[in-house]
């Protein structure tokens, strides 16, 4: 029995090795092809009105000709990926974004539509946000150095932090002048874009966290394929049935709480906890309900042997593929965007989606939303032109143009855009779920140290699942640290 097992493992390992070698070889070959014949790798075909050629970095004469024929600002393709350029008689805006791949065609469509209607040119430049961080250090350095781009894409939950430091232009008056108000956007999006009642950004996209489950795995484990776990207890029971382990090696894990969008924020809110008290202006991550959630989360590290889970996760390769799509985990907390990934990369997958299971002693499920926005950095000379661009990008029309040219999942923050029949058509069943969740969705605290809190909570998750200390001690440590920083900031809550 033991022998058979061992031999089985050997065969598997060798095959895996050969497969890996083969893959590496194929990749080398592809890379070689790519460099000699860039046309093959130039990516997405033309989507919508705009040609994707500029987006993919390929200068084809057609694109320019089409644009010219259409009679508006000419797109000038440049060799740099993510460089999109239009010209206009009323000046040019420098715009820094972090879009790549399938997000470039919709960006191009937006920019061309904007330039066509306003005759303002856009010079869009790809400035990445490094992994593990929330804002591009290049952008921050440019703002600090007094040479910022006119407009920039900005992770919405840290708008408050950077507005507090005086690095973003207050656009409250401009919004009022143009009749834009909180009624035009989902509440959480507007809240994240504001600090102390002043507006610093115009929201664009958003997302919600939902539970995905693999129906084939459920069938295999003898579970009801049409019913997602409704409570955490049901989830735990299902995981025990779904997980397959051979020695210290997992072949399949039912659910890994920290995978995908399984942050402490996700579970803290699910357990009914509160991370921040705006009356006192203090963070409260050691809220007993959050501690309960963290204990459940950390319990998975203990119950499923964190070292073995880590090895299993590491074997996926770093960020390479979603283990849920590959069929290595049976359930995952992820954003609505995963629907589109499945459609694109594993269209035959038999899966379902549901709200997150209810936590003990709760009467309602929960979720949270994040997303992006555009800002006008502080120190920009021509604020009016820059404002007109970020206003357009966040407008109902701007968001619809993006959505219709996008292959990725785009969830609008504009309430009017959300009413467009395009969305239920494009998203199917996911849309109903999203509509149910958006009104109750949580958002991360808008405080000067939102960035710090996010990083600390991410770290805490890792510490808790590796049983470095008990959850309460770790979370109290965060409260101490972040509240100290808030005290230094002289922060008294947005009300006070």
């Amino acid at each position: 029995m033991l022998h058979g097992n061992e031999r089985g493992e050997h065969v598997l390992s060798r095959r895996a090795l050969l497969a890996s070698l083969g893959t590496a070889g194929a990749m080398a070959l592809l890379a070689a092809c790519g460099s000699s014949r860039p046309a093959i790798t130039s990516g997405a075909p033309a989507v919508g009105a705009a040609s994707s050629s500029a987006a993919a970095g390929q200068a084809t004469p057609d694109a320019a000709a089409t644009a010219k024929a259409a009679g508006y600002a000419t797109a000038v393709p440049t060799p740099t990926v993510g460089q999109i350029k239009t010209t206009g008689a009323k000046g040019t805006i420098q715009y820094w974004h972090n879009h790549s791949g399938i997000e470039l065609p919709p960006l191009q469509a937006n920019i061309q539509e904007f330039s066509k209607s306003t005759d303002i040119g856009i010079e869009a430049t790809y400035v990445p946000v490094p992994p593990g961080t929330q804002a591009s250090e290049k952008l921050i350095a440019a703002i600090a150095g007094g040479t910022p781009p006119d407009a920039a894409r900005f992770d919405r939950f840290i708008v408050g932090s950077f507005a507090f430091k005086g690095s973003l232009t207050d656009v409250t008056a401009k919004a009022a002048q143009d009749g834009i108000s909180s009624k035009d956007y989902y509440n959480f999006a507007w809240q994240e874009a504001s600090l102390n009642g002043k507006l610093y950004a115009i929201p664009t996209s958003t997302d919600v966290r939902i539970l995905y489950w693999n129906k084939d795995h459920f069938k295999d484990a003898g579970l009801d394929t049409e019913k997602a776990p409704a409570t955490i207890q049901e989830l735990d029971d299902a995981v025990a049935k779904l997980t397959k382990k051979d020695g210290n090696r997992y072949a399949r894990i039912g659910f890994i709480p920290w995978l995908g969008q399984g942050w402490l924020y996700t579970y803290g809110w699910l357990w009914g906890g509160s991370f921040y008290d705006d009356k006192t202006g203090q963070v409260t991550t050691s809220d007993p309900k959050i501690v309960d959630a963290a204990n459940w989360y950390g319990g998975y590290g203990k119950k499923y042997a964190i070292g073995d889970v880590d090895a299993f996760q590491a074997s996926f390769g770093s960020n390479a593929q979603d283990p849920f799509l590959v069929g290595l985990v049976s359930m995952e907390v992820s954003t609505n965007g995963t629907v589109n990934n499945i459609k694109q990369y594993k269209p035959d997958m038999n899966y379902g989606l549901a709200v997150l299971p209810m936590a003990p002693n709760q009467t309602q499920t929960s979720t949270w939303s994040g997303g992006w926005s555009n800002v006008v950095p502080n120190g920009v000379k021509n604020v009016d032109t820059a404002w007109s661009f970020i206003k357009y990008m966040g407008s109902s029309q701007g968001q619809l143009t993006w959505a219709k040219n996008s292959k990725g999942a785009f969830l609008p923050t504009s309430i009017e855009a959300g009413k467009d029949p395009f969305f239920p058509q494009a998203n199917g069943a996911a849309w109903d779920l999203v509509q149910k969740l958006l009104p109750i969705s949580h958002w991360r605290p808008v405080i000067p140290e939102g960035n710090e809190l996010w990083n600390d909570l991410a770290d805490a998750g890792d510490q808790i699942r590796h049983q470095k200390s008990d959850a309460k001690t770790i979370l109290s440590g965060i409260d101490g640290k972040v509240n100290d920083l808030l005290k230094k900031d002289n922060w008294k809550g947005s009300g006070g």
Binding site: S13, S20, I140, A314, S318, D462
Partner: protein, 316 residues
Amino acid sequence: MATVTSVGAGAAQGTRRAARRRRRSLVVGLAFCLPWIIGLLGLHLVPVVLSLYYSFTDYDILQPPKWVGFDNYLSLFRDSVFWGAVENTVIYALMAIPAGVVFAFGLALLLNTKIRGLAIWRTIYFLPNVLPTVAVSIVWLWVFNPLYGPVNWFLDLLGLPGPGWFADEHWGKPGLVLLSLWSVGQTMVIYLAGLQDVPQELYDAADVDGASVWRKTFSVTLPMLTPVIFFNLVLSLIGVFSYFDAPFVITDGLGNPAHSMLFYAMYLYRNAFNLFHMGLASSMAWLQFLITLLVALLIFGTSGRWVYYGGGDEKK
């Protein structure tokens, strides 16, 4: 007399001309050095001095620095993540530096023999040094993949359970040490140069005395190479305290699992460029400088006892 004077005058004129030539060549020389001098002063000295100032301030780049005295240093001493990073760095240093010395020295000894294709072997062992660390790290991530990596596959063949390597908080650092050994080429070349400087007559004398290969290695080669070992030791010490790129790539900048691969320089980087605590990061940089200086001085202090510069009697 007259001749003497004229000679004297001529000499004086000559000196003056020489002085003028010297001055001109000084100016030209300085002009050629100017870009470097500007770089040194503007891009190195000014930031270094400023960082000392920033280390006593609360500075986030976006707002003007605010003087806080020793607050940054004190908060570092209270910060458990900081001590974790120090501990990781020290543990890594204790493993990687001795392993690097032994491995590079051994390789240099092997490559100093008269074997066929010597140049090819030397090139092969130096090659990893010219590859970019990011690419190398990504390859090693796969090599050490706990389930599908060749290392664990091989261990499996031997019937040994392969560890999780970079996925395991206890095996991450040993994995990094192995990775560092792969690129000892630079150090190895320095040892090779040192080896070729060992006087042949010492070996000849040892041969006459009937010394074995081992005896010659330990009684001739090793003592003669102690200055080179000393030099490499100091260099790797400085290197290890600024160890950054490989663990940064492998752990996506986070240093996880459980901060087991969060090294000093990574935590400094995170404070500076992720959380924008420039003041705190500056104080970390100065502490790093002080620690490195202290350890280097310690090694210098002991060097009299073990570093041999030839010449017999000078050795204490």
